[in-house]
Symmetry: C2
Subunit: 449 residues, 2 copies
């Protein structure tokens, strides 16, 4: 993409009403624009990051055997009357009346609707296990929306629902979700720690939240520092291997890690003092097992092997897709701007032309643009007639992890400069070597000719 043809309205000034780094940087980098309180348009750069996160979530859910679908944003109130939540939910539920005077609502979550779909179509244990999920816009009418997309009103979320015959099967689903979530966060370049949590208004028995450590987090968190050394890495995961999954989940949930809601000081103090950590965290996901709460209330039963009808065991599992964009920035930025992890970056590499209009520089940049595109990468080429300083400032602000700088002096020696946004380190090399390095970083096979 040529910047001259793109829509990237960066701002120099710091927006006055944005209280946290991610909100300020998303506005300054031209990622979002507020439409009304807690409701945002995703400008092209922000949209690309949102989609990258969505893609990772989809890929990992599908790998875990979960089935994508899509429920609508508006729901009939009657479904929520069945579960008893229509009255219980309070003013955060956006209630709507349509032209026929029917009570509707903008879904804040989908337990009722998915249970209705299930009970309409499934009647035998033979159709289980089943986990359905969707990624859809939701609405929570927060009394004081703030922190940009971190606590917005209209937000994008993945929510998945498992239906199982037995508690053991539902725990298998629980474990699949925990592991697929850990893998999703890792691919995004995020460390998210599973912490024993409170069940809140959804109601539940077993539940874990996933928290990203960040000073601006809304939760106080307490954990054993050994958890910081854990990593799934590239290991192959067999989501049908129950014992293997359980083992991973036990490894990850054994070290003490809790939010202030469930914190137990006496347990915490049993950890050796040098491993005790207190910090703040941002919640980016939660998994719940809630048994037959909705299935019993709404009549979602199946005939078991003996023919008797039993309510199914359910759980629900969410990842905050739009919130993750903010959380990623909270965990990855410096005073100059955002620093995207490679897994979610909106463009893989920036190309900066230090002397626009110079024949050699222009030609070298065009070749880099072409070669990186041919590899399946998305480069962003700053081809504007701007000073070098302004171009660097824009690249630093929008946070592409790698930058290739092309200038007349270097080109005379056949060199360009490859710079890491994270470390700030630069290295001179031939354009070909820079392309090879970028391909390697993004794991693109490059057969030598």
């Amino acid at each position: 993409m040529r910047l001259s043809r793109y829509f990237l309205p960066v701002m120099k000034e710091t927006p006055a009403d944005a209280q946290i780094a991610s909100h300020r940087l998303m506005l300054r980098a031209g990622m979002i624009k507020q439409a009304s309180a807690g409701i945002y348009s995703w400008l092209p750069l922000g949209y690309k990051v949102l989609k990258n996160i969505e893609r990772i979530v989809h890929e990992e859910q599908i790998a875990a055997g979960h089935i994508p679908m899509l429920m609508p944003t508006l729901q009939p109130a009657d479904l929520w009357r069945e579960s008893g939540r229509y009255d219980a939910y309070g003013p955060e539920m956006l209630r709507i009346r349509d032209r026929q005077d029917r009570d509707m609502l903008y879904g804040p979550t989908n337990e009722e609707m998915i249970t209705d779909i299930f009970r309409s179509h499934v009647s035998s244990y033979r159709d289980l296990p089943l986990t359905l999920y969707h990624i859809q816009w939701k609405f929570r009418d927060e009394v004081r929306p703030r922190f940009g997309v971190m606590r917005g009103r209209e937000f994008y979320m993945k929510d998945g629902y498992n239906f199982d015959l037995t508690y053991e099967d539902a725990m298998h689903a629980y474990d699949r979700h925990m592991v697929s979530y850990l893998r999703s966060y890792e691919r995004m370049g995020l460390r998210a720690i599973p912490m024993r949590a409170d069940s809140g208004p959804i109601g539940g028995e077993d539940t874990h939240e996933f928290l990203v450590l960040a000073d601006t987090g809304e939760s106080e968190v307490f954990y054993d520092s050994t958890i910081l050394d854990m990593k799934l890495g590239d290991r192959g995961i067999d989501y049908y291997d129950r014992a293997g999954l359980r083992n991973i989940c036990e490894t990850w949930t054994t070290p003490y890690a809790r939010t202030d809601e469930t914190h137990d000081q006496s347990l915490f103090e049993k950890i050796p003092e040098d491993r005790r950590r207190e910090s703040r965290g941002i919640e980016v996901g939660q998994i719940f097992y809630f048994g037959t709460k909705y299935s019993a209330a709404m009549g979602a039963t199946v005939a078991g092997p003996d023919g008797a009808k039993v309510p199914v065991h359910m759980g629900s599992h969410g990842i905050g897709v739009s919130r993750l964009v903010g959380a990623l920035i909270e965990a990855n930025h410096d005073e100059k701007g955002i620093i995207w992890p490679e897994g979610v970056t909106p463009f893989h590499v920036g190309i900066v032309n230090l002397r626009q209009g110079d024949g050699d520089c222009d030609a070298a940049c065009e070749r880099l643009l072409e070669a990186t595109t041919a590899l399946g990468l998305e480069p962003l080429y700053d081809d504007r007639n701007e000073r070098a300083g302004a171009k660097f400032a824009t690249m630093d602000l929008i946070g592409l992890p790698w930058r290739i700088t092309v200038g007349p002096r270097g080109l005379k020696e056949g060199k360009v400069e490859l710079t890491s946004r994270r470390t700030g380190e630069s290295e001179e090399m031939s354009p070909e070597a820079a392309i090879d390095r970028i391909a390697q970083i993004y794991g693109i096979g490059h057969t030598p000719e």
Copy 2:
């Protein structure tokens, strides 16, 4: 995908309240479930088709140089008061009041919001031309929603907006949209005819609708049969070549083609009688040029080369993504069910095991599943313990364009059967030959070893 692990709730009985083929077939094939009047959940099979259509639209818009972003579903009423449409729009606009008593609405379209984004960030002609688009859920509170997703209330639509300095530039944008739309429909396997249209409530000067011929269409259409021979085919299109684009558009809009709204009988009668056609059509897209209607009302101006501020020329351009799922079925079905064009099919090939549990049949099916998946295709393997007739009926109903049937008799001779859903013709061949044929059909390069 193994059918035993999928969620495909097909129905044998014909739903009583579904009046047209696409609605009936989408319900019977387990593609959608009504959530409330005119609002649908997209079950896994329907979701896949919806996403395939969305992907084609994205790819062709990006190829045309248009930039994806995303606006929210809920909009503040104030923006619509500025354009004067808040009062003008009538009861089809779903009006919402939030907990702070602010007037909101569920966006039926986005001219106001995109104009607001534009005026907030763009002030110079140097930033033009610019075309932004998004694919987002919209709502129109139809008084009598019907025909399933064809006239639903919550619907998924691509809407794009061009901003240009001059009329000529705006016409270039108009032409880019016409050609990219024609190409999108062709890739979906649809013939959609551009017809001179009425501008309706959006207001406009130049406008064309795209209509798919189908007996159940809501519009009466009149056209010259020569347009049925036109095809873009595989030709390369340079979206920066204004004359070339204009030429394509003129070729496509020269033969008489109008809906009842703009029909002119005396012009129609000038066509040789044997080429006159009267039929019905389904609208699946529309492009508008409306000049400075919104930019003047809302102050979206840029400084031109001479420094003087001028309102920008705009147009808006829509493709009904969710409606297309219905239109595709209206144009592609028979008494047994749906017949998906290859470009949008939810699975590329069905694998039917005639004797589940037979070691040879099971092994052959597993190999087919593996080999087609390895090619990057998505097969659907019917591995249920069902009679052959039931398996064939399901495959015919859900409409996968190709089916490989594996049975004990054929396998003895090393043969499976490859069947075209469209023609019903079957051919016996080795499993390897069937895989090669499928790869060829979907244009997957298959280097001979």
